[in-house]
């Protein structure tokens, strides 16, 4: 009996060792040191405290967040964390933020895998605040997870900067500790509608979306706007997050006579939907899906990716500049889009998506708030965030400070991007709207498969 048990144990251990040996190295969640350090000096009028102070006190601020290393939000969440890590490494390597009293502020991240689960998020954010003593919080990726985390942040009075959390409602429930970086969900597809108005005002639109907080909030803002612009909505349909088979939905779409599809949700369902639209020759003139086409994995779909559009929070091809800021009378802050992109490429070997930029911006906005407050005191930092009105490579950043929608992003605009083929036949994401920042004409109608 004992010998048999030993044999069983041995087989299990060997099995585990073999599979573990097959595993690739763990995903790097910490980006390597950046190529170029960022300007992190405190305002100079306060005097060169950092160089003159006889003793510089170093203070490490703990930033807590969860990321989805597994589960439905894995792809976009990892990108967001990669962006944040790039910022943190840059600012730490540049010597931290120097305050006028001689304090040098550096940053450390405390993070857990939330497994894309709301229950895990609430448990882990409680732990981050009460046991890990996180000073500031960054949201998990996705509106649903961020909404779950926001309750814990608000209960504990912790500032939480949200990225990847576009849904509007979390900012309209009396919260005062949340600060949103993404353009709110209700405005996500409005610029796409503006573009459609110029391309084909007679288009018949189908809205087919994931049944989750984010996608639903996008569609709630979209439908009245479509109707106000004179478009006919011929189909409105939701699907479950775990949907794999879009065949019945596509049949319904074709039967409805729709020529344009606006919808989707996140990466897994969006990429599947795009692939099946192509395989089934749905014959649509234009398709815009949320989130999935903005990811650099999307071209793995091959020709199924051609012509698929997305609303993007940021595109390198249409990155914002200091000249744009000057023309708008805004304060420019942080690196240029090219500096950010080259630092990210050097660190990860990949091109940055808007999820990476969003993650980077969580840190950059916190850095700016600490510099403006000249303090790490949460109340002063919060006041600095509320007063913030800046322009970065990512675009404008300004938060609503009204009681009705505190923390909602009101300064940031989106662009429309579309997968097209370059001269060599490779799929590239082009900016097609607004016209003044576009680097390509919209591909309309999409070529038939």
């Amino acid at each position: 009996m004992k010998r048999s048990l030993f044999n069983v144990f041995t087989v299990l251990v060997l099995f585990g060792m073999i599979l573990s040996a097959c595993a690739p190295a763990a995903e790097p969640t910490e980006a390597p040191a950046p190529a170029e350090p960022q300007a992190t000096e405190a305002p100079s009028e306060e005097g060169p405290a950092a160089t003159e102070a006889p003793v510089m006190e170093e203070k490490t601020i703990t930033i807590g967040f969860t990321s989805s290393l597994t589960g439905a939000q894995e792809v976009s969440s990892k990108r967001q964390v990669a962006g944040f890590n790039l910022w943190m490494n840059q600012v730490n390597d540049a010597g931290g933020i120097k305050l006028s009293d001689g304090t040098v502020v550096k940053f450390a991240a405390h993070t857990y895998d939330d497994e894309s689960s709301k229950e895990r998020v609430q448990e882990l954010y409680t732990r981050l605040i009460t046991e890990d003593n996180a000073d500031y919080l960054i949201s998990p990726y996705s509106s649903g997870l961020a909404a779950a985390a926001s309750i814990i942040a608000e209960q504990n009075g912790k500032i939480m900067i949200t990225a990847g959390a576009a849904e509007d409602d979390a900012y309209k429930t009396g919260n005062t500790s949340l600060f949103q970086l993404y353009t709110p969900g209700s405005q996500y597809l409005l610029s796409t509608v503006d573009m459609l108005k110029t391309l084909d005002p007679e288009a018949k639109v189908a809205i087919v979306h994931e049944n989750d907080k984010f996608s639903t909030s996008v569609m709630e803002g979209l439908k009245p706007y479509l109707e106000s612009q004179g478009f006919e909505v011929v189909l409105e349909e939701g699907y479950a997050t775990e949907t794999n088979d879009f065949g019945p939905v596509i049949n319904k779409l074709v039967e409805s006579g729709a020529t344009v599809l606006l919808g989707g949700g996140h990466y897994p369902d969006g990429s599947t939907f795009a692939r099946q639209l192509y395989e089934r020759k749905a014959g649509l003139k234009f398709v815009s899906l949320l989130v999935a086409p903005a990811d650099s994995k999307f071209p793995e779909l091959g020709d199924a990716a051609l012509g698929i559009s997305t609303s993007s929070q940021w595109e390198l091809a249409a990155t914002h500049t200091a000249e744009e800021a000057a023309a708008l009378g805004k304060t420019w802050y942080g690196p240029t889009g090219e500096e950010f992109a080259s630092a990210y490429e050097a660190a990860s070997g990949d091109k940055p998506t808007y999820h990476v930029a969003g993650g980077y911006m969580t840190g950059l906005v916190l850095q700016k708030a600490i510099e403006d407050a000249d303090s790490v005191d949460p109340e002063k930092v919060k006041a600095a965030l509320e007063a913030m009105d800046i322009f970065t490579f990512y675009g404008g950043i300004k938060f609503d400070t009204s009681a009705d929608a505190h923390g909602l992003q009101v300064g940031h605009q989106m662009v429309v991007a579309q997968w097209q083929k370059d001269d060599a036949g490779a799929l590239v994401r082009k900016v097609i709207w607004p016209a003044d920042v576009a680097n390509a004409e919209p591909l309309y109608p999409i070529p038939a498969p």
């Binding site: 699907y239 775990e242 049949n251 319904k252 897994p268 089934r280």
Partner: protein
Amino acid sequence: MQQLNLLLTSLPDGILLGFVYGLAAMGLTLIWGVMNVINLSHGPIIALGMFGTFFLVSKAGLNPYFGLIPIAIVGLLLGILIYVVAVHRVINAPHLSSLLATFAVNMIIIGLGTAALTTSPYNVDFTAGSFKLGSTTLLGTRLIAGLVAMLFTGGLYLFLYRTRPGKYIRAVANNRSAAELMGIPSTRILALSFGLGTMLAAVSGALIATFFPFNILSGGGYELKSFVIGVLGGLGNPIGALFGGLILGILEGIIPAFLEASWVPVIEFALFVVILLVRPSGLFGAKQ
């Protein structure tokens, strides 16, 4: 009229998908029928079948349908291994023990799979074309998957009713003690049955991977469907599982014609409860 048209266009897809669901459920119900074990490692094994196709196509450049042969062999051997390591010692213990044993295997596969393969979605870069059938577009991958599922079902039927090991399996399922008295090596037959059940799960996963994306967690959804199908067709009745699969596939095809697609799981699992309440032996009769 429009809805009738929609129903007719969605029906062929549902039927083809139903055959594959049926194949997956057959594996679960075969194991239950022979040894009264609820195999909770069924889902991850479906997922391993999916990854089998992915690696054979993307790394070895094999046609996914030729890849079914090595996947079936590995599935059979893996099932026998799981039986020997985790199930055999608890086969006569209360059901909870075997349930926990297979759940442990489930967790081991998912844990190792997540570490090695992450939970990012994978796609098999393969197409078998498509063609118009009336106003619907049928995908070649689904059509072939449906045919392969029928072939495997036929093969299983012949194996169970026309071969000596198959008859041994049926004998052990019917009355293990009596079978042992007749000289049937029940331990080997139980291991073979578990292996066959696992093989069917792996093959169904391999077929599903040709048209749906997947990750290591994807098998869970198909495992749940297999339970519904098992109850529909009658637990322990492998051929009933095929018809249960067809019913589920057809429901998935036609429900979105009348309701939002998000109602599909609600209706599926409501049906599960109704069948359990009204006809617990399933529509086609459970194992006697």
